[in-house]
């Protein structure tokens, strides 16, 4: 049983709930947030191993989250989820040193594989 900490930020409650249930089933410690502000506050208090965030959100968006996470914990990987499957956002995300990029609808298995790959780098 690994005890890695994963944070999920998405303004859709179902995304948070499903990701949490599925990841917890794998043994991860999961915390979910419906918007970025409390999530970033929580990150300041505690380090997470992987942050999964929605790209497009009201107020602070996914790119802001990526920048703040990298400032706080350069070793923490960020996985981006977005409804916009366009090249521009993908390039923007990759330039910002995002670990992976998932267009909606998200394949949970692929997301888990991506999280595992991110964590295996650390070992």
């Amino acid at each position: 049983m690994n005890q890695y900490r994963v944070m999920v930020i998405d303004d859709e409650k179902i995304v948070c709930d499903m990701a949490k249930m599925s990841l917890e089933h794998e043994g991860y410690i999961v915390e979910t947030f419906l918007n970025a502000e409390p999530a970033l506050a929580r990150l300041k208090a505690e380090r997470f191993d992987v942050v999964v965030t929605d790209y497009k959100m009201k107020g602070i968006d996914g790119m802001d989250v990526l920048r703040d996470v990298k400032n706080l914990y350069p070793g923490t990987d960020v996985i981006m989820i977005t409804a916009f499957a366009n090249l521009d956002t993908a390039i923007e995300a990759l330039r910002g040193k995002v670990h992976d990029f998932f267009p909606k609808p998200v394949k949970i298995k692929a997301l888990k594989t991506s999280i595992q790959r991110a964590l295996s780098k650390k070992k």
């Binding site: 499903m18 599925s22 497009k56 409804a83 909606k104 609808p105």
Partner: protein
């Protein structure tokens, strides 16, 4: 009747009138000539009768028998000349008078014959009878002449009067007819002018109840056809503009649909993965979530379809705030995607308006999408309703914090095909919105400050029973 035919008819009538007057004048002139001819003949006769009487006197005074022969000769001459011009005389004085004259002459002639045979100048009785007959003949002849002279004068007087009054009749008739025709022309022109003015204002009315089948009838029906055609075109433009707005809305709608699709997909994946671990209650909860998400999708699609469907203008009493909320729902996602922070500030208890809800929604969506396009990278949008300044209207404002419209462009923003968006704009959005608001007897205006933003203000008249009829007329 055609105006051309009216003028021709009028001219024919006038010519006929003049011919009639001419005919009467000619008749009078002829009569006058006959009378004058008779007067001339009568003058000759009078002279002859006078000479006869002189000879008669010679006979009685000097017993000059040759005088009687002279009288006989004169009588024969006069009788012959009367017979010669009898037709003219009959025409002038009639059969009765000429017979009377002839009988006077015959009597005189008979007496002369008697005197010549067996009379002498001392026969007083005979003398008296002859003198009496001669006098009567002369008097009758002279009174005839006098009477005919008088008649000639009368005819001249009558002719003068006829000519004078027919001049006035013809003049009055000409004035009346030209006034009538020009009034008809002016009336038709005024109708056309009013229609042209209403077309300029974008109200494509038609002229009803054309009675005259003249040239204006065809002009008016041509303009009516044009107006109807313009109205159809306007409806097409409104629809095409709606479809264009739909293109802009689609980006927002796509995003809006992606989320419930993603949710359903994730629920399905988690359900499959965790099936054995889920309680019956949890499974039901999962399925309820799926149902909730499909409901969400259905309402998104329905909203969009409602907006895109072409509809005939349908004026109804409505609460503008409800319409504002419906329009806002359509654009909400586009606003989120475009990072626009929108504030809806609707005044409670507003008077109702009389509108085509679909068209007003279209205007609002159009103004909001314009605002979003003016705010690259996001901004703030203030949408509000309140009672108009004069209380008889409702005011809607859409204010953005975009780049603003340069002052030199402001007067043209409602012109068709005017656009500041380059290739991206058709330049029809605001012109269509303007047309819609004008059709609602409302007003739309714009204020803008470079770098600060733009405010569009719409005023719609408050619903009243009377106003309802007024707008119906305008829209029809």
């Amino acid at each position: 009747m055609k105006i051309e035919r009216k003028i021709i008819l009028y001219n024919i009538f006038n010519v006929a009138l003049i011919l009639l007057i001419g005919f009467f004048a000619f008749q009078n002139l002829n009569l006058m000539l006959t009378k004058l001819k008779f007067v001339e003949i009568a003058d000759d006769m009078n002279t002859a009768f006078l000479e006869m009487r002189l000879s008669e006197k010679n006979y009685f005074l000097y017993n000059d028998r040759t005088a009687l022969d002279e009288i006989k000769e004169k009588i024969d001459q006069t009788t012959a000349s009367i017979e010669q011009v009898k037709a003219d005389i009959v025409k002038a004085i009639g059969e009765t008078d000429i017979n009377t004259l002839k009988s006077h002459l015959n009597r005189y002639s008979a007496l002369i014959g008697e005197v010549r045979q067996n009379g002498n100048n001392r026969d007083v009785q005979m003398g008296l009878r002859l003198r009496d007959a001669g006098k009567k003949l002369r008097e009758f002849s002279e009174s005839m002449t006098k009477l005919e002279r008088k008649r000639v004068n009368e005819i001249i007087e009558v002719s003068k009067k006829i000519l004078f009054s027919s001049f006035w009749v013809v003049l009055a008739f000409a004035i009346a007819v030209s006034h009538f025709i020009s009034q008809r022309i002016l009336k038709s022109l005024r109708k056309i002018e009013t229609l042209a003015a209403s077309i300029t204002e974008g109200k494509f009315a038609t002229i009803q109840g054309i009675r005259s089948k003249d040239e204006f009838d065809s002009v008016i029906s041509a303009i009516n056809t044009m107006s109807e055609e313009l109205r159809n075109r306007e409806e097409q433009i409104i629809q095409s503009k709606k479809l264009a707005s739909l293109g802009i809305l689609t980006a927002g709608v796509a995003h809006e649909l992606t989320n419930p699709i993603n949710n359903i997909s994730m629920i399905a994946q988690a359900y499959e993965e965790l099936y054995d671990k889920l309680s019956r209650k949890e499974r039901v909860e999962f399925m309820n979530k799926v149902e909730g998400e499909t409901e969400r999708m259905r309402s998104i699609v329905k909203n969009l379809l409602d907006f895109s469907r072409p509809k005939k203008a349908d004026m109804k009493e409505a609460d503008i705030n409800v319409v504002m909320q419906k329009a806002f729902k359509l654009v909400q996602n586009m606003l989120e995607v475009s990072n626009v922070d929108a504030k809806l500030n609707l005044m409670d208890g507003l008077n109702h308006v009389f509108i085509d809800e679909d068209q007003i929604k279209q205007v609002l969506v159009n103004l909001i999408t314009n605002a979003v396009q003016a705010m690259h990278g996001g901004g703030r949008l203030f949408i509000s309703t309140r009672t108009g300044k004069n209380k008889d209207s409702v005011e809607i404002t859409v204010r953005d914090t975009g780049k603003g419209i340069p002052p030199e462009f402001l007067p043209h923003v409602f012109d068709p095909f005017f656009t500041t968006k380059g290739e991206g704009g058709t330049g029809l959005g605001l012109s269509v919105s303007y047309g819609i608001i004008k059709n609602h007897k409302g007003d739309i205006r714009v204020e803008s400050w470079i770098g600060e933003g733009t405010t569009f203000t719409i005023e719609l008249p408050v619903y009243t029973e009377a106003g309802d009829a007024l707008i119906h007329e305008g829209v029809k």
